[in-house]
């Protein structure tokens, strides 16, 4: 009963520039939302640039991929952002990296590349070698204070701020202790993964690269990538492998949520909670180490299956550790939920209305906390989730507390899922290496990461490589909602609001143009200047 390619998991449709807006509008009204989009330099193949928009239709269990092309001399397509707000960043990114222009886009500014990157140089084009060095033009990034007047104060939050565990930059506009606006500028953690994968890596090396997109949720990225290639190549993955994959994905979800609970407590000033949550989390790390040999960055996924197997003894030990982890977590969570002042600080704070959530296309716990019933595991079943029994928690509060509650419920669902997997592990192989890779085949793999829907799009290439790889982490879709959530809130609530989307900036910022090998300074951006200063 090996289920490898789901009939109709995604459908690629070529649309013409005139009808694309209509199609998108119809899809949106049908309950779909914008998942991700990528620009591809297909000039070596057919002399055109292509833009792929992936739209997630959970009700029909399918991703609709709309493909637009533009000729080389006029690389311009109409923007769908006026119709679907969620496409804004994807189009900006395609414009930034590939050089496709989007007509009628409301804000076609640089998204990924730093401000002093020279114009007309597009890193993801095929004629840009991955190790080319580019000189900067003298940056102008910094505290702009554009929206400040005499009664408003600009408060810079980042890139190095104790509340953030990764560098990002929010500029808050504060009036009388309330935030009246926020600007976000991210993509400080650029590492050049897409270019590296396309230029230097083989098919089965990429899962390990994908895993290093993020420290907390690496397994879901490698799984999504492997699924994308498996879809494209029609690989039949053995069932045992699918179960083991799901097992590690759930273990990852538990440790990620427990980490988040700890961070949330710390941000609310309750350090004891932080310590206790992370103590409970240690059992989960031990489980991961027991099964894969690593506490995180498990290195377990390959195209076609998994690398390590589970013995009966390991299963017994894991179940024991699981019981302890679940017991401790429950105790700490019950304590925290009983603390009225912590709950009061989360209730009614950082509200994201359902309408805005749908338009922006937020995913994961953020969406489920705003009343949107979506979960990739149920809507587009992958790995072993088609066989497993779990509930999807949906809350209507739309505030930080709802996101907190959603994650609590998910954690305990995950505990139950891990038990189900371990008790029903089917026999068989753990990897299928008999497959051939077609050329220029499109594949899409998506998983429900701890933070939400994680989508990887792949265009297979020749010679055991990929032609194009576009990972889209869940935080990418959730970040545009943050300025909306911050407006009108007390400054003291900014940290917990930003943290409530469980931001994983490393996931978001995977794209860049740095010579990872030499580490030489290619441009002077704010991040590097700060580092320079610290070194003094």
């Amino acid at each position: 009963m090996g289920r490898s390619t789901l009939e109709g998991r995604f459908r690629v449709i070529d649309v013409s520039p005139d009808e694309v807006a209509e199609v998108v509008r119809e899809l949106f009204e049908d309950g779909c939302y914008y998942a991700t989009g990528m620009g591809v330099d297909e000039r070596p193949l057919n002399g055109r640039f292509a833009v792929y928009h992936a739209i997630n239709c959970p009700k029909r269990g399918v991703y609709v991929i709309l493909r637009l092309t533009a000729p080389e001399d006029r690389p311009s397509v109409p923007s769908i952002t006026p119709v679907l707000r969620g496409a804004e960043w994807a189009e900006r990114e395609a414009h930034d990296m590939v050089g496709v222009t989007f007509e009628n886009h409301p804000n076609l500014e640089r998204l990924i590349l730093p401000e002093d990157w020279p114009d007309g140089v597009y890193p993801l084009r095929k004629d840009f070698p991955y190790n080319r060095k580019v000189a900067g033009t003298g940056g102008t990034a910094g505290v702009r204070g554009e929206r400040h007047d005499e009664a408003t104060m600009s408060v810079p939050l980042g890139p190095y701020h104790p509340l953030l565990h990764e560098p990002e930059y929010f500029e808050l506009y504060v009036r009388e202790d309330r935030i009246v606006g926020a600007d976000y500028r991210g993509f400080h953690v650029h590492r050049g993964m897409e270019k590296l994968a396309e230029s230097r890596m083989t098919l089965n090396q990429i899962p390990f690269l994908a895993e290093r997109i993020c420290g907390i949720c690496g397994c879901t990225h490698s799984a999504a990538y492997c699924q994308a290639v498996e879809e494209a190549a029609g690989v039949e993955v053995p069932e045992r492998a699918l179960y083991i994959r799901s097992l590690m994905l759930e273990v990852e979800r538990i440790h990620s949520h427990l980490l988040w609970f700890g961070v949330a407590c710390h941000l609310l000033g309750f350090d004891s909670g932080f310590m206790h949550f992370w103590r409970a989390r240690e059992y989960v790390m031990d489980i991961a180490e027991l099964i894969t040999g690593n506490r995180k960055t498990y290195g377990i996924n390959l195209v076609g299956g998994v690398r390590r197997d589970l013995s009966g003894e390991k299963i017994q030990k894991t179940l024991k550790l699981l019981e302890m982890a679940e017991g401790e977590s429950r105790e700490v969570i019950d304590n925290v939920v009983g603390m009225k002042e912590l709950i009061a600080r989360m209730e009614g704070v950082g509200v994201l209305r359902r309408k805005d959530a749908r338009e922006i296309g937020v995913v994961g716990p953020v969406a489920r906390a705003s009343g949107i019933d979506t979960d990739v595991r149920r809507d587009h079943p992958y790995a072993a989730y088609g066989d497993l029994d779990f509930k999807v928690p949906v809350y209507r509060g739309c505030d930080v507390l709802s996101r907190f509650l959603v994650r609590i419920d998910e954690t305990f669902e995950s505990f139950s899922l891990v038990r189900q997997i371990l008790e029903n592990l089917p026999d068989g192989e753990i990897i299928n290496e008999e497959y051939s890779l077609p050329y220029m085949e499109f594949g899409l793999g998506s998983t429900e990461a701890p933070r939400g829907e994680d989508v990887h799009m792949v265009l297979t290439g020749g010679e055991n490589q990929v032609y194009r790889w576009h990972p889209r982490a869940p935080t990418y879709n959730n970040l545009p909602a943050v300025p909306l959530m911050l407006e009108g809130e007390d400054v003291a609530d900014a940290p917990i609001i930003i943290a409530s989307i469980d931001p994983c900036f490393s996931c978001t910022d995977h794209v860049s143009i740095v010579d990872a090998g030499s580490g030489r300074v290619l441009w002077r951006g704010p991040l590097l200047e700060g580092v320079e200063r610290l070194r003094r």
Binding site: G139, G142, M153, P156, L157, E176
Partner: protein, 629 residues
């Protein structure tokens, strides 16, 4: 003795009169200021002499205009104390105006010396009627000072006129006439011997007269809810005028309150309580409103209101405690009230002068836009810091000592005034907060945009600030001199001042309280200097902004409106109440304004009004003078 006094009076009158006339000319604008300065010094000398040498209650008579009436002028301990205040503030204000007079209008320059003169006369007359007359004159001249200020001044002047002249003075005048009718003569000596006994037997008259008198005086003393003329008036008046008004003019009603409550009326607990309640309401609401202000002079104006509340509360508390038999606490409270009058005059005028200096150089009063002035105006900054710390009541400055006396006299009593003391303690922290805001928004944190400031103000403007700042320190560290003058002043009104152990600390017996400001001062100066040597910085590096390059430093400063926002939200009931009262006040003003406008239609311009007022008063004097024995 009377010979030297009349000579002195002659010199004083001529100085100030000459100053007024010269003020009308455009050329030598500094001359009237100089003459006023000399006059103020003379007033100060008289005050000091009065506190020191002349026997309490031994007035000196002089007959002026003897064919019309006789005005006896004299100085006793109580007037002497207030003359010290007047002389001091007049001195500093006049030195300040050496630089700033040239910017004023002629009527302003003419009215200024006459304003001082009318206050002097109000303090030295020995007759209630003449007191009222000079009070009216004082109001008249101060109105010119306000009207000749900057924007919005005409509106402010009209509101001032309506409130004080219309409502208050009618009341005051009628009360005075009644008192005079009851006692037969307006002279202080006569009234004080006859009235108390009469009023203790005629309760209704007592209540009516006291209500009228205190309302009339209270309006000028900026008591809530009659304070609404203050912010606009002080904002429009130029700095030295505002300093003089809040420093000296506001103390005149206190002077008369002392005289009235302690010599003209019998000692009454309900009356004292009423006064204390009024004072408490004033200190509470005045300061809470001040917390919100984002205009430098308005902030100072509301604080004037608040601090007057302290003075009046201590006065009422003292009265109440004395009538309940707590002699030690009561007399201590009265001492505190007088001491705070002196201290308030010092630091409030200092602060108004600094605000005016800032305005002179930047053209701004908006605290949201000001900032970073310590770089270009260091002298003003330091004196403003001392003034802010003094009004906040930071030990060992003068504000602390008088507030300390207020707490020690009110809190340990098992009466309701103990609560008033508690509120005063709370409001003192609000004052401190407000002045941290004032000081940091003007001088410390960066401004909203580039300010074009040429530099520090001229020396004639910094010298008086420093004189007052030095006084703030001196009066706090060595309070024995003013306390001696105060004891003498209290002696005039028949209150025996408690013997407070002097050097090196102030000790109130029976374990009520003790503090040693001199020791504080020495210790703090020594230890701070040692620590400063320790903390000398090794280098200056750009500030930390979490790694972001700063393109507009001025964007990252805290606007004045954001200070204490959550605190103000939580005490929102106070502000709601204030808004309601303001509506009531404006309604009253509108009614009276209607009457006043009718009167003004008759006299077309200000000068006409001046002449009309003089004529009217002259007639009044002749008519009433006929009836005086």
């Amino acid at each position: 003795m009377w010979l030297s006094f009349s000579l002195f009076l002659l010199v004083l009158f001529s100085l100030l009169g000459l100053a007024a006339l010269l003020g009308l000319s455009r050329r030598t604008s500094w001359l009237p200021a100089l003459l006023s300065t000399v006059a103020s010094i003379m007033i100060l000398i008289v005050g000091v002499e009065g506190s020191g040498n002349w026997r309490a209650g031994a007035p000196v008579g002089t007959s002026i205009l003897s064919s019309l009436s006789s005005i006896s002028l004299g100085v006793d301990g109580l007037s002497a104390f207030f003359l010290i205040i007047l002389g001091l503030i007049g001195l500093c204000s006049s030195i300040y105006s050496l630089s700033s007079f040239k910017h004023g209008a002629t009527t302003y320059r003419a009215a200024y010396p006459l304003f001082i003169l009318s206050m002097f006369l109000a303090l030295t007359v020995r007759s209630l009627l003449w007191f009222v007359i000079f009070w009216e004159l004082m109001t008249l001249f101060s109105q010119f000072l306000i009207a000749n200020g900057r924007e919005g001044s005409r509106g402010a002047a009209l509101r001032y006129f309506c409130t004080t002249k219309g409502a208050a003075d009618f009341m005051l005048l009628s009360v005075v006439v009644i008192i005079w009718k009851l006692s037969g003569s307006p002279a202080y000596s006569v009234i004080s011997s006859v009235l108390p006994a009469y009023m203790s037997s005629h309760r209704l008259t007592f209540v009516l007269i006291s209500a009228g008198m205190l309302t009339g005086l209270g309006i000028k003393a900026t008591l809530v809810p009659f304070h609404f003329w203050v912010p606009d008036a002080y904002t429009s008046a130029p700095g030295e005028a505002a300093a003089l008004m809040s420093g000296a003019m506001e103390k005149l009603p206190v002077y008369m309150m002392f005289r009235y409550l302690l010599t003209f009326s019998p000692l009454s607990a309900p009356l004292g309580l009423a006064v204390a309640v009024a004072g408490t309401l004033t200190l509470f609401f005045g300061t809470m409103f001040a917390l919100r202000q984002t205009d430098s002079k308005r902030l100072l104006a509301y604080h004037s209101v608040g601090q007057m509340g302290y003075i009046v509360m201590a006065l009422g508390a003292g009265l109440y405690l004395l009538s309940r038999g707590y002699t030690l606490l009561g007399s201590l409270a009265l001492m505190a009230s007088l001491f705070h009058s002196l201290n308030h005059a010092t630091f409030k005028s200092l602060l108004f002068l600094t605000a005016s200096s800032v305005y002179r150089r930047t053209g701004l009063r908006n605290l949201n836009r000001l900032g970073g002035l310590w770089k270009v105006m260091p002298l003003t900054a330091v004196s403003a810091l001392i003034g802010s710390l003094a009004i906040a009541g930071v030990p060992p400055l003068n504000g602390f000592v008088s507030k300390w006396m207020i707490y020690v006299s009110t809190m340990p009593s098992s009466t309701v005034v103990s609560l008033f003391g508690a509120l005063a303690l709370f409001i003192s922290s609000v004052t401190a907060a407000s002045f941290v805001k004032y000081f940091t928004t003007v001088f410390v944190r960066p401004p909203a945009g580039e300010l074009n400031v040429s530099g520090e103000v001229p020396p004639w403007m910094t010298v008086p600030q420093w004189i007052l700042a030095a006084l703030c320190v001196f009066l706090g560290v060595y309070p024995y001199l003013p306390l001696r003058a105060i004891s003498r002043a209290l002696g005039v009104v028949g209150v025996k001042a408690p013997a407070l152990s002097s050097f090196p600390g102030v000790v109130v017996p029976h374990g009520l309280g003790n503090v040693a400001p001199l020791a504080f001062f020495v210790f703090m100066v020594v230890l701070t200097s040692i620590l400063l040597l320790l903390v000398r910085p090794a280098m200056r590096l750009p500030g930390w902004t979490t790694g972001t390059r700063v393109l507009r430093e001025t964007a990252m400063r805290l606007p004045a409106g954001s200070y204490y926002a959550s605190f103000e939200e939580n005490f929102g009931e106070v502000y709601g109440f204030g808004a309601a009262v303001r509506k009531l006040g404006l309604w009253i003003v509108r009614c009276v304004g209607g009457v006043a406008r009718a009167a003004e239609r008759c006299s077309a311009d200000m000068n006409g009004m001046l002449i009309g007022a003089f004529v009217g008063l002259l007639i009044f004097v002749v008519v009433l003078g006929r009836g005086v024995p």
